[in-house]
């Protein structure tokens, strides 16, 4: 199981939890599982999210592998100037 930290304003979609568990080996599976298990997250995931894996931020990259001990953080999609 992967432990995913989510940002606070998404708690309304995760029964108030800051951290959720899903079965996933890579980012695509993780996002699919989050959308399935917590449908309230789907609108945000469709608008765009970034993922941080062990401190490194990824904007896309479906097939990035997630280890069992990895720190995974769901973040808003990054934009810059």
């Amino acid at each position: 199981m992967v432990h995913v930290k989510i940002w606070g304003s998404l708690r309304h979609a995760t029964e108030g939890k800051d951290e959720v568990e899903v079965e996933a080996a890579n980012f695509r599976q993780l996002l699919d599982q989050l959308s399935t298990k917590y449908p309230g997250l789907r609108p945000q995931i469709e608008r765009g999210v970034s993922l941080a894996l062990d401190g490194r931020i990824y904007r896309e990259a479906w097939f990035t592998e997630i280890g069992p001990e990895s720190e995974v953080v769901l973040m808003p999609y990054m934009t810059g100037g």
Binding site: L10, D54, R56, I57, G80, G81
Partner: protein, 747 residues
């Protein structure tokens, strides 16, 4: 790609300061900017803009304009469809108002004519019947229930009750127990802040030339930070296939985030399609101010608890950003950045994005971060004054470091904040004496940086020179940095490499030049392209020598047998291998296509000394030093230029720059005479100290440097001014009248 494993790589090219490749063209006027493009039979276009902040467009009558001699076409929103994609629809509706004008300066119609003078004249003949609506331009007013609603139905699902429909987004970040954290504090400060909207202030106004042919192909030349983004947006708006619209980016006269956008290009394309002739469109400076994106303005509340020895026990911030007449996401970046420099047990930020009757916000260097960090760093500074603590010691005591759980979630890897703070503390600037009415301020700054989609082709020419083709407009010296990295990897002199920025049909997709991504990700792709080309060159040498490819290595710009067992052959240089490439298998090139990650966050610290005239309230910046972690400074001149440029823009933001609206909702200062950016005579030499804490996510350790330097100046200046005059300022800009009022009111 991870940092190269060599413990201490010795660079021969990277870190040098060769002459910039665009310098001669720019100083001789030869460089081709957006407005320099011309085509045979070209028409000139002008845009009619709304004089109202908010109004229904009841009708548009262009018959008199069309009857004018020399006028070839008029377009309005009726000439465009209604895109399904909401992002594209917003871009289109911002380019040409549909049904309602949403801000002063919103485009309502455009004319193409045989000359610019005729086009301007024709605008006066277009009759628009408006029904004026109530408007709102202030973020706090716009949030209140009952405020005039800019657009309906744009509120995201997680915005709570109690707000007007102008509130589109809510976000919350952080961790820990705030109540317990504040209970540990010896003192809690709660302060409110406001910052004005500021414009990126690029020298070159937006400009383009569009040419649509009768068989459905089109070419577009424009000044942009992202030709592929322009291509994708315009193709969708125009109902074209991407391959049929070729977009070429001109040389760019500044962007700073403000040219990650599309404002005029679809209109020029529509006029060209309608007339069958090339159409050129160049914005005036007034149009740039009224109708292109400034940054957000903000209203913020910060609450921090601290022990008397300087440890922050808890921190929270409420951020309200207005981004003009369309939904934006900028407050999420502010919410994540606000406390990023600190290692905190309990931290929370709450943010709201709000629509107002102002132009659609565009990114501006580290979008969302400068204002949030200004508020936080101001409160930290007030604590230092209250407890009599050294401001750098307090930052060092609380600094984020490797292993810190960041305020936005992930745990930091190697970061350079502490090294940057220590460099500031050791610098003579920090202890230099100050005179009367003078003050010294400092602030930390932070930006995420990112990578993204990137393609590079590296061609080995038969004369032994190298052509690098990339797809990101050069807004900060990237062509030089890319050439340096190619030369480094190949082991050849810098002047044997030329890097060019290609059009959208000449290379694969590249993300916009933004997020401080280009030196990092295009550099990474260039290094990999060079390595791929080296592999080919080693294989060619192996064929010539009749040995196994694995028995050939690349050193100092030449292929060599890997050892005595591989054979006794003289090294073949890159030029020697290139010269016989036709005979050994054909042209040699290396490519790399990647969606790069691992950009590595960046921190900076700024020190500012100011003197405030007690009679006028005018602030003079006496001394300014920027300390920043660049990971690896590929071309230090450009890194220093980024640091200085960011500081200069931030100083303007802090002291003078602001969008001023009248009660009628119209912009009052749409020109550089009334919107005052700092000029050279306003600024001291901005000193720079580059730190190099290698980024583990890049083979040479490179981090982006372009955005972080605009973050600290706001608080560094405010803290300096507050210390100089003895009264804490809570609003930017600290223009002389505001500062004088605060000084006179302190009793």
């Amino acid at each position: 790609m991870a940092l190269d494993s060599q413990a201490k790589k010795v660079f021969k090219q990277v870190g040098t300061r060769p002459r910039r490749p665009d310098g001669v063209d720019k100083v001789t006027g030869r460089a081709m900017y957006g407005a320099d493009a011309t085509a045979p039979g070209m028409l000139f276009a002008r845009v009619l803009r709304s004089p109202h902040a908010h109004a229904v467009i009841k009708s548009i009558d262009a018959s008199a304009a069309l009857a004018q001699k020399g006028v070839k076409a008029v377009v309005t929103s009726a000439d465009f469809g209604v895109p399904e994609d909401l992002f594209i629809r917003d871009v289109q509706d911002n380019c040409m108002a549909r049904g309602k004008v949403l801000y002063d300066g919103h485009a309502v119609a455009a004319v193409a004519a045989v000359s610019d003078a005729v086009a301007k004249q024709a605008l006066k003949l277009i009759k628009v019947d408006y029904q004026v609506l109530p408007h709102v331009t202030d973020v706090d007013e716009a949030m209140k229930p009952g405020a005039p609603v800019v657009q309906q139905g744009r509120t995201e699902e997680n915005v709570g009750p109690g707000f007007s429909e102008n509130v589109t987004t809510y976000c919350e970040f952080g961790h820990g127990d705030l109540v317990a954290g504040f209970a540990k504090a010896d003192r809690i400060l709660e302060r409110s802040f406001k910052t004005a909207a500021t414009h990126q202030g690029y020298i070159e106004p937006h400009a383009c030339l569009a040419s649509v042919t009768s068989d459905g192909k089109a070419d577009l030349w424009c000044c942009t930070q992202g030709q592929f983004h322009v291509r994708n947006v315009c193709a969708e708006i125009m109902g074209m296939e991407s391959s049929q619209l070729r977009v070429t980016a001109s040389e760019i006269g500044g962007g700073f985030g403000g040219k990650t956008t599309v404002f005029i290009e679809p209109v020029a394309l529509a006029l060209s399609r309608k007339t069958g002739r090339p159409v050129k469109m160049v914005m005036s400076r007034e149009e740039v101010f009224r109708a292109t994106g400034p940054t957000v303005s903000s209203s913020m509340d910060v609450k921090i608890g601290m022990t008397r020895d300087g440890r922050i026990t808890a921190a929270e911030a409420h951020l309200r950003y207005q981004g003009g007449a369309f939904p934006t996401g900028t407050v999420t970046m502010g919410g994540q950045s606000a406390f990023a420099a600190y290692d905190l047990e309990a931290v929370r930020t709450y943010g709201w994005n709000v629509m107002t009757n102002r132009p659609k916000e565009a990114a501006y260097r580290a979008p969302g971060a400068p204002m949030a960090i200004y508020a936080v760093e101001s409160v930290v500074d007030e604590f230092c004054q209250h407890f009599g603590l050294d401001p750098l010691d307090v930052r060092l005591m609380n600094a984020a470091k490797k292993g810190t759980r960041s305020s936005y979630g992930p745990t930091f890897d190697a970061i350079g904040l502490i090294a940057t703070l220590e460099a500031a503390k050791a610098h003579p600037h920090y202890t230099a004496p100050l005179g009367p009415n003078q003050g010294r301020g400092l602030s930390c700054g932070f930006w995420f940086n990112f990578g993204g989609n990137t393609c590079v082709t590296l061609n080995v020419n038969s004369d032994g020179t190298i052509g690098v083709t990339e797809g990101n407009p050069d807004i900060g010296g990237s062509r030089a940095s890319i050439s340096l990295m190619a030369a480094e990897e190949l082991g050849i002199p810098y002047d044997k490499v030329r890097t060019i920025v290609a059009d959208t049909n000449s290379i694969g997709y590249n993300d916009i030049t933004d997020g401080s991504r280009v030196t990092f990700s295009v550099g990474l792709a260039t290094i990999q392209s060079a390595r791929n080309a080296i592999k080919v060159m080693c294989a060619r040498a192996a064929k010539i020598w009749g040995i196994d490819e694995d028995a050939v290595i690349w050193e100092d710009g030449a292929a060599k047998p890997s050892g005595p067992n591989a054979g006794d052959f003289e090294p073949m240089t890159l030029a020697e291998i290139a010269a016989v490439s036709a005979e050994t298998g054909g042209p040699i090139a290396g490519h790399h296509e990647v969606n790069a990650d691992g950009a590595g966050v960046s921190f900076g610290v700024h020190l500012a000394d100011v003197e405030v005239d007690p009679e006028t309230g005018a602030t003079k910046v006496l001394r300014y030093t920027v300390f920043q972690d660049a990971g690896r400074a590929v071309h230090p001149d450009y890194v220093e230029g980024q640091m200085q440029g960011g500081a200069a823009q931030g100083i303007g933001w802090a002291l003078n720059e602001e969008y001023i609206y009248g009660k009628d909702g119209r912009l009052q200062n749409a020109g550089f005479l009334d919107y005052r950016v700092p000029v050279a005579s306003d600024l001291p030499n901005i000193d720079t100290v580059i730190l190099e804490i290698p980024n583990p996510g890049h083979p040479y350790g490179v981090r982006g440097v372009g955005e972080t330097p605009i973050v600290p100046p706001l608080a560094a200046l405010s803290n300096a001014v507050s210390r100089a005059v003895g009264v804490r300022m809570h609003e930017l800009p600290m223009s002389p009248p505001k500062l004088l009022k605060a000084m006179n009111g302190k009793g």
